[in-house]
Symmetry: D3
Subunit: 317 residues, 6 copies
Amino acid sequence: MKGITFLNPGDPVDQYLLIKQMTKGVTTAGKPFLTLIFQDRSGDIEAKLWDAGDEEERKYQPQTIVKVAGDIHNYRGKNQLRLKQIRPASAQDNVKMGDFLETAPLSVEEMSEELTQYIFEMKNPVIQRITRHLLKKYQKPFMEFPAATKNHHEFVSGLAYHVVSMLRMAKFLVEQYPSLNKDLLYAGIILHDMGKVKELSAAVSATYTIEGNLLGHISIMVNEIAEAAKELEIDSEEVLLLQHMILSHHGKAEWGSPKPPMLMEAEMLHYIDNIDAKMIMMDRVISRTNSGEYTERVFALENRSFYRPHMYDQDKS
Amino acid sequence: MKGITFLNPGDPVDQYLLIKQMTKGVTTAGKPFLTLIFQDRSGDIEAKLWDAGDEEERKYQPQTIVKVAGDIHNYRGKNQLRLKQIRPASAQDNVKMGDFLETAPLSVEEMSEELTQYIFEMKNPVIQRITRHLLKKYQKPFMEFPAATKNHHEFVSGLAYHVVSMLRMAKFLVEQYPSLNKDLLYAGIILHDMGKVKELSAAVSATYTIEGNLLGHISIMVNEIAEAAKELEIDSEEVLLLQHMILSHHGKAEWGSPKPPMLMEAEMLHYIDNIDAKMIMMDRVISRTNSGEYTERVFALENRSFYRPHMYDQDKS
Amino acid sequence: MKGITFLNPGDPVDQYLLIKQMTKGVTTAGKPFLTLIFQDRSGDIEAKLWDAGDEEERKYQPQTIVKVAGDIHNYRGKNQLRLKQIRPASAQDNVKMGDFLETAPLSVEEMSEELTQYIFEMKNPVIQRITRHLLKKYQKPFMEFPAATKNHHEFVSGLAYHVVSMLRMAKFLVEQYPSLNKDLLYAGIILHDMGKVKELSAAVSATYTIEGNLLGHISIMVNEIAEAAKELEIDSEEVLLLQHMILSHHGKAEWGSPKPPMLMEAEMLHYIDNIDAKMIMMDRVISRTNSGEYTERVFALENRSFYRPHMYDQDKS
Amino acid sequence: MKGITFLNPGDPVDQYLLIKQMTKGVTTAGKPFLTLIFQDRSGDIEAKLWDAGDEEERKYQPQTIVKVAGDIHNYRGKNQLRLKQIRPASAQDNVKMGDFLETAPLSVEEMSEELTQYIFEMKNPVIQRITRHLLKKYQKPFMEFPAATKNHHEFVSGLAYHVVSMLRMAKFLVEQYPSLNKDLLYAGIILHDMGKVKELSAAVSATYTIEGNLLGHISIMVNEIAEAAKELEIDSEEVLLLQHMILSHHGKAEWGSPKPPMLMEAEMLHYIDNIDAKMIMMDRVISRTNSGEYTERVFALENRSFYRPHMYDQDKS
Amino acid sequence: MKGITFLNPGDPVDQYLLIKQMTKGVTTAGKPFLTLIFQDRSGDIEAKLWDAGDEEERKYQPQTIVKVAGDIHNYRGKNQLRLKQIRPASAQDNVKMGDFLETAPLSVEEMSEELTQYIFEMKNPVIQRITRHLLKKYQKPFMEFPAATKNHHEFVSGLAYHVVSMLRMAKFLVEQYPSLNKDLLYAGIILHDMGKVKELSAAVSATYTIEGNLLGHISIMVNEIAEAAKELEIDSEEVLLLQHMILSHHGKAEWGSPKPPMLMEAEMLHYIDNIDAKMIMMDRVISRTNSGEYTERVFALENRSFYRPHMYDQDKS
Amino acid sequence: MKGITFLNPGDPVDQYLLIKQMTKGVTTAGKPFLTLIFQDRSGDIEAKLWDAGDEEERKYQPQTIVKVAGDIHNYRGKNQLRLKQIRPASAQDNVKMGDFLETAPLSVEEMSEELTQYIFEMKNPVIQRITRHLLKKYQKPFMEFPAATKNHHEFVSGLAYHVVSMLRMAKFLVEQYPSLNKDLLYAGIILHDMGKVKELSAAVSATYTIEGNLLGHISIMVNEIAEAAKELEIDSEEVLLLQHMILSHHGKAEWGSPKPPMLMEAEMLHYIDNIDAKMIMMDRVISRTNSGEYTERVFALENRSFYRPHMYDQDKS
């Protein structure tokens, strides 16, 4: 079945979906309704459930799987699902939440193995030990969490997938620019966003924790490295270097890094992070756009819209 | 004897001074000379030592006390000392380095006692214990270090004096605005710049340490609070609140705070820090300016110069 | 009775309220309705009056006191009042507008007396005379006007209350930093926003006057000082100093001050003004927030939301 | 004789010049010298007077006319005058200061007459009376002062010449855009910089007065209009409009206007002021540049340098 | 008949209008409706057509002329047309699209003649030939296109009218500032926005072409000049100068000019372009505002609103 | 022999060097001297030649090879060469300019071959033909020019080397992100800076041409693509796409791109360009710095200095 985000206005809908978000509203005529955001693996879509009272509110909580029927229509330039029928799925329907969650294109096992390989290649024992220690400490959430709550890699295992993609790029770059220190760059990549496992609340439907809000994943992780070094009884410059890699990876003070990169590897970490995040965002909107047309505007890409050239499809044929 | 910075062009000089800084130069005619910065408690002044070879270079290292004779002249709007005689002080001269260092107007003992009193007033045991623990851990450098290497409170015990002034202001403000939490604000003030004892190298002639450069005093202190909490086996929200106070006290991302203040007390800490630093800077330049004239431009005050009104002196009489 | 802004969704409402604002609308189904903003001393709340034609429009004009019944519900994260009954109050209801207006926590008499005391303490006769002259000239509106139309001190006597709070802070600061000239700072505080009595139209439901829009309260007040000096036949530097205090009190050109502060007292006036305004804003949103939760975003505080720590309430018990 | 700024490196110099500025210096070898800035009507040029002691300092004060001999050489991309001989001019030399001052291309009489004509054309009696009153009050300095101390129109009668050029442009524009109110625009132009007669100290070698520094010519002039209206017993909207024209003529808060233009005529005043100032600056540097070359960088024109095309000279022939 | 934009709330409407834009919507009650933007020569107005299904959607496409009846009401501070009747105009109605399109105040013939005259006055044969060649090549769209899709000169022949107004201003300015090269300035004005004939899709209801989006009118026109020079076998500096005039006419990089003006004429072109665009915008909103009131905010004028003084109407009488 | 930039203060110098730049100066004592910048393949160093008159000026013009003796000393934190002897090299010295010019680490032949291979891999015939056509047209300067006059790749064949490095990165990235169109990205890389062959004057000691200054390499190249398409009689969307790649490759308007990237490949081109330029800059300064020390500040890297960790050298051993 075609993913919900690939349907066009007029297409009928008759399938199971997961409720991602639910908000109550009142029409200008004073009647209550629900705004529901449904999702499947392809993304999400909005719908309105009119004349929905307290009972509906209880039945259609986030994380509920529902069976819906209706069709797609266009509302202010975005697709919406016009509901004709909706009911919560029951045990007999034989569907489970995992079926509706976007997930990384690689399995947790594949990614774990690949990460292990990168750590194995490190020659500096201090960097290797700290990285291994922290990866082990946060193994489970690190492999399951998204890399963000929106914009990019906001899916199950998004964080690990982002890290693996970045490591592959790093592997190429340390060959192209041999003055880069491989160990520092690899460790920086593996740890740079690991603080998100404490900044965010969960692997699915993540929100910000109090700690996440008050400290942020950067400071959380700088602390974690200090603690790891203490537990491993390490006291050498590499600890500072790793902390600096994390601290500076947003590149500029105004983007949340209290220190700008002062190591070549820190600068490169910032570039690699940026490229992988931006490519994922551009690829997603362009893949949903027809040749000769423009994508919707993407806020996180300076609100630009992108053009999908005719040659993309001509060259394939 | 009048402080070196209060002399006017034409005034003769014949006194002991401390060498603060020495730089070698070569005249455009190819001859070596030294640029010396002398200091006494009133501040510093520049001088040139012409035809100065390797021997002079060895004799006039920073931290050396010298006997100088000469006069003051004006060079590009700033006073310089024109050297006629110079020699290193010897044991018989009976002068010591402390005589030449600007120091806080309060003694270390007075300030220690006052700090103790503020901590004693705290009611929240967690905040009190962490503050006391850290103050004890870094007692000595905390009482001796400057608050910065330049701009403001850059003198012996400048950090402690800055903190005491801020606490006094805080005491007034928690009375004026009773919704402010006194403990959080007092602790935030005491700890906000304590990381400088690791960011800077020494109480006198301080430079930035590697740790100071790569992490900065904010991240250093956030780590210290985490470590203190661990040692004291404290795990409560107050730890996060204190870390946030430190993290946000520069007020904005572009000023080095990865998170903006999200607590009323954090916002107030930022204001109090700012006022005390700026007052010290303005007071210093205005006190050296004559009525009806303008101060030199102060880079850290948006490069403004300030006017000293006639009424300052009229009203006194 | 609990103030309207302290009610929670589900709470019933049955009380008198003042209409602060009324706007006509048309539902998407083409029917007219009114959006009413009611207020009592605790603040304001929005409500919709459906199917409201010309008669309702006439009856529910701003400044009308009404008796309403209904309940509170949450709409897009903000409380609204769902109207079940509404009627204009009549003479028998025995309610008056003043009952619904937020007003300063100090009476006009208390504040007048306190202001007089500060002026009495001034030693410089020129500054004292000009300040007294202008305070007398605008006595009545100065004691009744708000300090702004929104954001902070936007209540009856808000301007005078803001000034009194600032004077108390100034009293502390001139003791802490004795190089500050007390007379200049006190006079600057008293006069800094006095131009608002001409910039705004009234003490209640204030809008901007033509003069307010075209000149602004800063230029208005600079002119007033010039005129006062002329009438008092004063021609001395103090007049320029006072004008500069007013001119520069927004701190920077981009915030509306054509000259940045060039006097120590002008810089301090800017800080004190800022602190008092910001504290009032933060205090208000935090006092309406539960422990462990975040306030709504405050536009005038860089759109931040603030966290209300658990310890606020724990420490009280 | 060719103006001093039109000479090229290698050209001999033997003429009278006026000392515009004198600064003492000390060579790196410890010898005193003077840096002299000479001027004639074409502009100014720097020179060094080596081995210059107290006597030279007394003889070569600013505003002294001297006879100099030497040649032009290029120092870091700018022409300098290499002095071979210098002596103060005496009565017999029969030269006077006016011979060396750049002055407007129109005489004071011509400009006065033209100004009178523009005021005569005004139809609104209020605007006409205020403009005439103020022009009369400051007639003498207004006709003699420069428009600025540097950058543009910084010559004798520069202010009046700037105003006359702007009025001519305004005359064209009110015909092209008839919705512009001629009286308001003319009066705004005549008064916009009149405050400079109090902001600056003198027609020649002007510096900023205390009033100029603390208030600025904009606020000075807004006050003057208020005072004029009072004296003429005028109390109508036109007074506010004129004050707003002055207040907003720098266009934006960050350029010193506490209010942005809110009248069509105020916006136009800002444009006309800008064009006339910028044209004068560009014209001056381009006129001193050879075809196919670039001018020096002009700080007040965003530090740009301008290209002088070959066709300028080809088309002439 | 009064233009649609000059009607006031309550005024009845019964006339022909052109549909400029149509958008489908769904009410919060789930019913489809159309948002229609009608226009006549005075501007445009919004209306809602309730309960509008597929048939209405087909009938009321953009560019359709309709007969409407209803009245004007005010919705959130803007006038709307409340529809009571609507039908497409038929052949018998005897109305044509041109009747509803705003058009330049000068005829195409008048403007063509005036343009020819300016080109005739040029003395530099290279500049003259290139300008004439390009004007001839794009004669038809150049005389018909708007100067923009919104903000200013967005009407039929708006581009040509903008150019003619600018040329008249230039004619005055080359006389006032004779160092300006007339040929370069005239040619720059004529060509500066000619690229819009390729950037935009049509003279009416213009949208951006792919070429317009990817390259922009500036780069398009720089290419056109290169091509023209090639075809005319011209290879001289004037070609570069003309290209630079186009390239830099937005004034700054952040406004879309990859090079800032480096020619005096390029700087002036930027000023003239700006003045003519801004005057048109201000004039339009002020002409629709009553004396003593403020215009709506104009986004393209830094979101300012303008004041219409009482004297505008007093002086007329 | 060790490169000139790798010597330390105190090291003797006795070798051939190339004069890169020569400037005349006058000491504060009035004596002429020359400031010479010498270069060898490792970089450049400054020296002063005292008492240098017209004869020296003639002998030591830029591009002259000289034999020098002297030693290295430190002047204001930078190394200088203190000259003891200098003479122009003669034919017998058997040295040639090429020996002193930094050049790309790959030969022109290697790079040509590699470029050919990338073009060979293109599948889209339009893109392939245009790229091949332009590469052929500018083959010689393209293979010899630097990529810039300073900051990065400012050496012989720097442009080609920069392009080859970027292509290698692109090859990796199109595999990692298969939605990228390889042809568009490769062609964009090859052409993006090709306009520099017209913007700069020569392969060695390059300055900006008039065309370079007035149009810039971006506009030059957009024109070249248009011309190539015309000559090859190609009229398809790919031409616009290529022009857009060039136009947008600086990423933002304020960095000189009149259009921001609107193609995924254009965004990636910007990233690749940036990474290769920055790596070259960082690598150079870090390679000249000792472990545990900081590099000089690099203006083009936001004036940062970088830290060279101890582990770089520890890990090697």
